[in-house]
Symmetry: C2
Subunit: 161 residues, 2 copies
């Protein structure tokens, strides 16, 4: 089996969109999924790219991907790298493709002199936590993500004046 | 008292660095603090800005700031906005400056059509959690941040093998 990890190109958009939809199905979040080929192409390859992608191929077929962008640490005063998605098709899990994607993103973080490489995990996903911990990562115990969207975001924004 | 919330300019770098150091002291994280005027200027106003900033002035004096950057939601297929720091000098807390900064960042998120506006909170900071919840934000209960840095990051990247 020939495995290839490479940067995504505009030719991958159709296949990549299919994989992101598979991830939404796996996470039971298809009700939130509104991506299209056009929005994904614009996000990755438009005038102001919002995100970057690696794809994993096995025997010439797209079977996984990683999406990442830069965040920032004030105290380190430099960019970090944040992994938004890491996905490998279920039938191919455990075959090393996920690790290969993660290592490649880590290599990009090092190459770009990022102070840290971060991502998120569900607190009940002990297999993933064990895997990440074994590779030297730390699960921050006490930070929580706060999110505001839609009408509540508009209300917060609109009450400025 | 005249309060002003405005975009930071290169003239603010010295004052802004002082405020970021105050935040590091407040969080007892000065051992991680390596920012200098040069690195902060480059991050905010260099050829490839890594982060954006608002400052809060009271009676012409810099007393608070917000630092933010864009993240990305795959399922929404669009940028979000992430608030990295929100800081107001301790003596001025409760005077509305923090809320004014937060509202202004929310307005930027809406103006740029971001799908969501996010930040982080410590799980023991109940006052902050109550404040955010009251304004319509949600604290995601089950996501944890995973972080890898320094030697472990280099090892993952394969740089040492």
């Amino acid at each position: 089996m020939a495995d290839v990890i490479r940067n995504a190109t505009p030719h991958d958009v159709t296949g990549l969109l299919g994989l992101t939809r598979e991830l939404a199905e796996y996470e039971k979040l298809t009700h939130l999924f509104v991506a299209t080929e056009d929005t994904l192409r614009e996000a990755l390859f438009g005038a102001r790219p919002a995100v970057e992608a690696l794809v994993a191929e096995r025997d010439g077929k797209l079977v996984g991907y990683a999406l990442y962008f830069h965040n920032f640490s004030t105290f380190l005063s430099r960019r970090g790298l944040y992994l938004e998605d890491l996905y490998v098709q279920p039938a191919l899990r455990g075959s090393g493709l996920g690790t290969a994607l993660l290592r490649r993103v880590a290599a990009i973080a090092v190459e770009r002199q990022c102070g840290r490489f971060e991502w998120s995990v569900l607190d009940w996903n002990q297999n993933a936590i064990d895997f990440y911990t074994k590779m030297g990562a730390t699960v921050l115990p006490d930070w929580r993500i706060v999110r505001i969207t839609d009408a509540a975001l508009n209300r917060l924004a609109g009450a400025t004046s």
